[in-house]
Subunit: 136 residues, 2 copies
Amino acid sequence: MMNNVGDFLKTNGIKPSYQRIKIYEYLMNTKDHPTVESIYSALNGQIPTLSKTTVYNTLKIFIDKGIAMAITIDDNEVRFDAFIDTHGHFKCQECHRVYDFHVNFEGAIGDQLDDFQILEQQMFFYGICRSCNEKS
Amino acid sequence: MMNNVGDFLKTNGIKPSYQRIKIYEYLMNTKDHPTVESIYSALNGQIPTLSKTTVYNTLKIFIDKGIAMAITIDDNEVRFDAFIDTHGHFKCQECHRVYDFHVNFEGAIGDQLDDFQILEQQMFFYGICRSCNEKS
DNA sequence: TTATCAGTTTGTAATGATTACAAACTAAAA
DNA sequence: TTTTAGTTTGTAATCATTACAAACTGATAA
């Protein structure tokens, strides 16, 4: 049986080392937009020699190759996401969870930036999520 | 003649010290979304004793009181803006300038977050601006 | 005027995420 | 087996931000 994630990395010009496969798998399977810290902690059990520098390097490669994106929704923690189709993020200021939502970027800005070459789009909302609203 | 900025700060519950007035004036008159570093450098001539800590403290107060906003369009530099009506920002990856544009947030997301309490909205675009496009 | 007091400013030290760098390691090719 | 390019690792350096305590300011009360 062949390794799907390994092939996927190869297709995107990334040599599929054990660490890179594990990090990408974690990113794919974890929907809560993990930070470098949480990726490192989660994988340190399986890969005891893992270095935090490797996590930084690997995520940088993923972003350069376009298979992951950085989400700087908070200035003191960069989060990462393997879902790269443009979508928005809502951060709850109570429980700190980050929710995804769909965005129609074209309708939001019209033709204001027609002469600009847009390479990346981010939309961040902040507030109180439904679940926290119901509690209070 | 009375000091408009001082009165404005007072109206918003901020004691109008010399430093606070100067920092707010600079923020108002500077349209390029300055960083703490650039605010500090710009004012250090007029206020030789100015401390960078004061700039940090003052901006935090402005944000808490709702008369300025932080723009984390880049993870290694927080920028500040005295125009607090919600609008989007485009960052040119060539010249690093940050442009403002108007955003229709409602149209962009529909009713997906109807049970969420939205307190702040940010839209960040990244790419090459018109002026840099024309050069190449 | 002087004393008091709360709030503001300042400089230094601490924090903590990220980056730089060089050595150790790996795996494939020669 | 040797070589080589690329990868991983750990430590040290960097740099923005925060913590903290001392010095300062300006208003109020005695």
